[in-house]
């Protein structure tokens, strides 16, 4: 797509950072992580499907070749365990009842 094809007016809409974007959703955070990621599996992973696909951007590559994962702002969508090709890298459950994402105008 050529960039000139895009509408780039200054006042088109307020640009928002990813933090602001995630800040529009309500998360009732439980102290216990509902998803955990096994760092050893990730270290050997070259494809890194989770990094680009997780809509909440929760999989962050570290400089030593690992993955830093934080469960707190998770939509509970399931994308990560579906795209990850490594058996056992992600252990995925729903948060405790009443916790996690709460949608309002969706």
């Amino acid at each position: 797509m050529s960039p000139t094809a895009r509408i780039e007016r200054d006042n088109a809409w307020p640009e928002i950072s990813f933090e602001e974007r995630i800040g529009t959703a309500e998360f009732r955070i439980h102290e216990k992580a509902h998803i955990t990621v096994n760092g050893d599996s990730c270290r050997g992973c070259t494809t890194r499907e989770c990094v680009v696909a997780c809509p909440a951007n929760l999989f962050v590559p570290t400089s030593d070749g690992g993955i830093l994962f934080n469960y707190e702002n998770c939509f509970e969508c399931g994308t990560c365990y579906l795209v990850c090709n490594k058996e056992g890298a992600i252990s995925w459950t729903y948060p405790e009842g009443g916790y996690g994402i709460v949608f309002h105008r969706t």
């Binding site: 088109a12 939509f75 579906l82 729903y94 009842g97 009443g98 949608f103």
Partner: protein, 439 residues
């Protein structure tokens, strides 16, 4: 209501208070059975997002005059399909103001409102709704027969001879019961959307509607080369704009979902509709896209699977319907479960009234009729070549290039087809598949 047999807490446990679960609970409770409806969110609908249009006619049976109380944003009177090339857009619009009056056709609604409303009907019908409770597994007796579910509440086991799994696209119950062995990413798409705030009169003007009239726009192309599609739906004072993205394709490239949305928003055919709008809520959810190809076995001894948990969502390009399929399959599951309790036969044979109903109604008939469409719509040619081809043809048909005379349409089609790199045979084959699939 009859008391459940011996040490059971209920006749039927329904897991998940989405559209499937609430309709299952309404149907079973109306048939006089005792029902517990378990939901992990703090209230029904709190975990649920979708594009934004429900087609509630199936509710005629369960909630007559549903339109009088249903929490509606707008009644859809205009449906558009937008085909986007890099710079152009082909719009096909259909308007029917009659859809804005009873018995209506589709309505935009927020799921936290809609699902909550539907679950309240289950409670009124006599079901017990238990929120903030996550079901963690199936209970079985020593012979392996299903006896209910375990939950994350202290002493949270809930016992019943029948469990109806309406726990949505990730259904861990269907997986645990062995009914649903696959988690092949290519059967799923990720949906992400922005709820964008705009004053009501601005939405009315930009979309050409009045009062509580609404618009439904499905988009093909415009997803930055990732197979999928987009949508724009009008609510009263917000616009829902989002994309659905085929998981393996999304994972195999570099653009993140919110960047793909940002590009769609800047497309010259989209930007003027939403200019100045502020993001009120960002959300994401997965869709089972592969239709018939991915459907699990839906009946086992003591268990039924309905809605997205059974992959009953219809995602076929110009159609994105899941809520109506969930409501219908849930209702049929509830009816069949009630019959099985009455007959005192909860085996898969006793529960087969469920699949009989699915086969006889639109639920499986639509899926069978459109079985080839999801694949076709998400195929590389349809996704990456046809939008530019069609937009190119239309652009040249409408371009007045004086002093040159108008070229013949046949020549334009041939030239644009070649430019887009589409073989004639492929075009004919896809056209044939499409005609048979949609026909």
């Amino acid at each position: 209501m009859t008391a459940p047999a011996h040490d059971f807490d209920a006749d039927i446990i329904v897991v998940g208070a989405g559209p499937a679960g609430s309709c299952a609970a309404i149907a079973a409770a109306r048939a006089g059975k005792s029902v517990v409806l378990v939901e992990r969110g703090p209230f029904p609908g709190s975990k649920n997002m979708y594009g934004g249009v429900v087609y509630p006619r199936i509710l005629d049976e369960l909630i007559p005059s549903w339109w009088e109380t249903m929490p509606v944003q707008r009644w859809v009177v205009k449906r558009s399909t937008m085909l986007l090339s890099d710079t152009g857009a082909l719009n096909v619009d259909f308007r029917a103001n009659a859809w804005g009056a009873p018995p209506y056709n589709g309505a935009t609604a927020y799921r936290p409102d809609f699902d909550n409303w539907l679950a309240n009907h289950a409670v009124e019908a006599g079901a017990r709704l238990v929120c903030s409770t996550t079901v963690t597994g199936l209970l079985r007796d020593s012979t392996g027969r299903i006896q209910g579910v375990s939950t994350d509440r202290p002493d949270g086991d809930l016992r019943a001879p029948i469990v109806i799994a309406c726990d949505g696209v990730n259904s861990f119950l269907a997986k645990e019961s062995g009914l649903y062995p696959h988690t092949d990413a290519s059967n799923f798409t990720l949906g992400v959307k922005e709820t964008l705030a705009l004053p009501k009169h601005v939405i009315d003007e930009r979309f050409g509607v009045r009062d509580n009239q609404g618009v439904d726009i499905e988009i093909l192309g415009g997803t930055s080369g990732v197979n999928g599609g987009g949508f724009i739906y009008t609510n009263l004072d917000t616009v829902a704009l989002g994309v659905v993205l085929k998981l393996p394709k999304l994972a195999a490239q570099q653009k993140r979902p919110e960047q793909i949305i940002a590009e769609l928003k800047r497309h010259p055919a989209v930007a003027p509709l939403i200019e100045g709008a502020e993001v009120k809520e960002y959300s994401a959810h997965v869709i089972p896209e592969a239709g018939l190809e991915m459907m699990p076995t839906m009946v086992a001894d003591g268990m039924l699977v309905a809605g997205d948990a059974a992959a009953l969502c219809l995602a076929a390009g110009i159609w994105l319907e899941g809520v109506n399929f969930a409501m219908a399959s849930g209702m049929y599951a509830g009816q069949a479960a009630a019959e099985a309790i009455t007959k005192n036969d909860v085996s898969s044979r006793g529960l087969s009234g469920y699949t009989d109903r699915l086969e006889k109604t639109f639920v499986l008939r639509d899926h069978k009729k459109l079985r080839k469409v999801p694949h076709l719509v998400l195929s590389d040619r349809v996704q990456h070549k046809y939008p530019a081809f069609v937009a190119g043809v239309v652009e040249r048909v409408f371009r007045v290039d004086n002093p040159h005379p108008k070229p013949g349409v046949r020549r334009i089609v041939r030239e644009e087809r070649k430019k887009a790199g589409i073989g004639l045979l492929d075009l004919l084959r896809d056209g044939w598949t499409g005609m048979r699939g949609f026909g």
